[in-house]
Symmetry: D2
Subunit: 343 residues, 4 copies
């Protein structure tokens, strides 16, 4: 992580210069946070969609590039990989070999073999890499985790994660997503690992398509419950649905020997309305763009900070790999209806 | 309080024997609590409504009496006065002179002079008396008060009382009620005195009939805001309405030098419903019969306990008088639009 | 349910007369609720502990009996079985054969074969039987269930049950309890069945002794997570611990196609304290005696009502059996580390 | 509001160019929001503290100016007046006469005569002016107000405003602040007017120095309760303290004919900790910089939008004047201990 390339990447960049791959929804968020950070500058935007790339580049004073040009620019110290999932691993490899620090959206790849190949390239190049598990930077979950570390609830024993999307993505997306466990639950696997503070050794999963039969027809599920088990006996539960009429439901509950910590949903406003019908409060913020807006800002700032100060990445390449291992095990568990061990 | 009559009243009553005046809604509650208390027995029921009296007497194995008979019964150690307000003071006087311990519903009377006459009789007879400020026995307010006493928020500085009925009483009742301040706010004046732990010396009141013009036509108000001021500078605010579409709204908030204590409403169930519309919880318990069911039980038990054990009454005759003094001052303030001093 | 015996049992009992087996902690609750019900009378108390039986009998004006005498009394229309678990099934059989309606504490027995024998006797005798799954009568869970039935959240998809005791029972109790799944989780299995409104067909369980190694030494667990799966794809999760420092944690969360329903804990008071440290509210009611006091009252009243009016039992013998089947399956799942099908 | 000057000020400014007076704490906030707005540019910074002015100017690429230079710059279309209170009115007058749109921090002045003079200048010049009642732009209060307008609670009847600072300002500040009513409560007077949607016609105030005797020695109070009354009978209550150990307490509660709306405090995180002591949630955001960060952003954006699009100001000069009239009346009420009419 702190090889020569890393040092070179970070050195002499008063403003860390970025090339960004992907100008879609999530790319636009990162580019805007980068522009507002005050400590970084976007130089290159690469996107297969020329119009989208040009629009984002124009907005932030960057130039439209191709991959080779962007990675060949010696001014570029870091890359943001926010393109489609199937391009992530190859871009990670290319960026690592070009001596760039890497911010890569999750998942690194849907194939563990390809992930391992990418991670080897990163390791060989000695480049720092952050995998975009944005929830670790959500102030609510981060505070919960901080308190676990501070001993507020003693030894962790059980983790319960609720993670429900307001509505399913388009079928076209689902077909290339790698399935719900790799696409959606992967965030929860990361949360579980983080909160348990111990690697799960076994996964058991139930799943069904209760929201939309078309999802079943596409070979995927939209509703799931997972159990994770650690060697010490600690355990975690995840429940997922692709549909929550009341908005994005993202909660974590951790039980320890001395008590319980819960991080709940953020709401739009604190307004409470009491009338002849009920006492009603606001619904949770609608989806990840709203709920995790702050997390995305903090995540990018943490990346820039770690690169510039050559500090450890708060969530690294191995975290990306472990979450995928758990997702793969969950899928296998679902198919074979048995608990699956993970190495 | 501990004169010969009191001692006599309490002595030898393994079961404290009661005569009850009034068999209406509130009388039925007290009679039922008395029956369930295990330490008291209802012997006489007196009511101008013969049918109501007979029904209640039958239900609890008591006999229908007239006032003289009930008070002449040497087995009777205590009375419950839950008849119409205009009969309270005379019954208090007669009961005191008969050597009975007295549980009297609020208000003692609408005339301060008559109250003073009754209190003098009680004092002369040395009989214990409890005035039915049931809210002091609500577990929520009682716990809030206990914490003030335990120093949880340091020195009390401000009290905010919210007290809103679900709907106005019948106009016939309003006409004989003595007005909202003496009928409804009187409970809040007692709460304010209790929470402030210092006598208010001045009252200022705003009032209007915003709920029903017929209430204005009857010479009363249905909406009010009051300020109370103590010599030390402590202050209290009360807001009242005769109508709350969402149910009985009964809250107390106390600010002290070290923090804030709030006691909120009780709800029917803890069920929370999240759907496409809102996150909705139950409304407050509908009205005083539901909200203060527990308080009525505890209140009567505290009375019996104080009589039997010759202990101080938790809320006494003087408390009934002081609340009326504040209500009278509020009415005068409203009429003269100026702050009114109380002795 | 409506055989001749049942009719006879209920007929002519303006006051339903009870014999009660067991005068311990839970027996005392039922006896007190029976006394306060106004529609039933306790005639016989049977307990191996003569002193306990005598005390309870004296308190409620009943006589101390042995089993044969109590069941031979033609005045007795119903029995409460609140003795130790190993006596339940035989008492059920004897009571059924004596033509008594049966209120039996859970579990009916730790052996499914013995349960089936008891249920056969009940069926043969045509006697009504309620199994003491008290949580169904908790007003919070009952209201949640009522709303599911009313369609408030559409089709149920997932159920999450949190059930955590404040502290473990004595080891002597644990040794004869049949294990945590049969002793504690059995309530949650019943809740899950009730809320899912469909029979689970498969159980998977994780468990560990994280609270006390002595519990492991006794061959039991104190911490568990369970998944249940129905044929339709509906699923439920249960998390349990024998220790919760903050009090009895009893919550149910149900997700449906149209929304989410949650029933939370009941707290002692609504008092909220804000100070330099935090905003703090009351902890949940400490344990089942407090949390389910109301449920026990309603449960017994529902039993009496069903017997007297020959109405269906709200939770019957088969419910007791099904919960045990799930508990047995969970235990097998834990031992064999695989999902276990239930018939 | 839409005179020639206004039109001229707004025309031709794709980017609205600002001169800012005051480079202190609140000035820094406005300058940062201006820089991030994307639709405005800071050209001049004027401050008597040369170092502070230079630092802020440098940070935002502006130049340090004196008042005359800044106002003489024809490129400048708008001013932000965030200097000390005693300079506000004269700067308003000068800016208005220079044809600049005016964003003025509250209060316009401590002297109503001076305020009137400033407002006359603004009116004569036909310039748009916003007075910095930031709370109107707080998303929670704004949503509450929006719902009142949408009829969610019918006709407004009572407003209860809680407004408590975490700690008192320095005595040096208090001495020149014009007193708590003009310095702190003025925000609440504006809130009350906004929520009542009717002008109060009478003010009654209680006040005391309970937090710090030095504040009394300085001739001010630190604790207050106020009542406002409208001609229709609507009424409002405000409670204030200069000290809240648990953080900045800013709540609004509005009662209407159909229900109640409450906007509560914002907390740092949603984390809830349950342990042997309590169930504890986060304290409110500490003070106005945190709580109203979003409000300040929205406020400046609303100003820019109104200037550029020649739309009505969401909170105008007259609002600044009316709040001061109420503050003056409260002070007179406190001194004379009587309700004070306002014109």
């Amino acid at each position: 992580m702190d090889g020569a390339g890393h040092k070179q990447a970070a050195q002499g960049n008063a403003m860390l210069v970025f090339a960004q791959f992907g100008a879609g929804r999530i790319g636009a968020i990162h580019a805007a946070n980068l522009a507002a950070s005050g400590s970084a500058r976007l130089a290159h935007v690469v996107d297969v969609n020329a119009a989208a790339g040009a629009a984002l580049a124009r907005k932030h004073g960057a130039r439209v590039s191709d991959t080779a040009t962007a990675l060949a620019d010696p001014a570029v110290g870091a890359v943001i990989i926010a393109s489609s999932t199937d391009t992530h691993a190859d871009l990670v490899i290319a960026a690592a070999r070009s001596g760039k620090a890497i911010f890569c959206e999750k998942p690194i790849d849907l194939s563990l073999a390809h992930v391992d190949e990418a991670l080897a390239a990163v390791r060989d190049a000695g480049m720092p890499m952050l995998v975009g598990f944005n929830r670790r930077f959500d102030p609510n979950f981060a505070e919960l985790h901080r308190r676990i570390g501070a001993g507020a609830i003693g030894t962790v024993e059980q983790v319960v994660i609720t993670s429900r999307d307001p509505g399913p993505p388009p079928l076209d997306y689902i077909r290339v997503s790698g399935g719900m466990f790799r696409d959606m639950t992967i965030h929860d696997f990361d949360m579980a690992r983080w909160m348990l503070n111990e690697e799960p050794i076994e996964v058991f999963a139930n799943g069904a398509a209760l929201v939309d039969p078309a999802i079943a027809a596409a070979g995927d599920i939209d509703t799931a419950m997972v159990l994770l088990r650690c060697a010490s006996g600690r355990m975690a539960h995840i429940n997922n649905s692709r549909r929550a009429t009341y908005g994005y439901d993202q909660r974590v509950e951790v039980h320890g020997s001395l008590g319980r910590l819960v991080a709940g949903n953020r709401v739009g406003t604190t307004v409470e309305q009491a009338d002849a019908t009920s006492i009603a409060t606001d619904k949770p913020l609608h989806f990840f763009l709203e709920r995790y807006a702050e997390a995305y800002r903090i995540e990018l700032a943490a990346f820039i900070d770690a690169v510039v100060n050559q500090a450890p990445m708060p969530v690294g390449a191995e975290d990306g790999r472990r979450a995928l291992v758990l997702a793969d095990a969950a899928l296998q568990s679902l198919r074979e209806n048995r608990p699956v061990r993970v190495a």
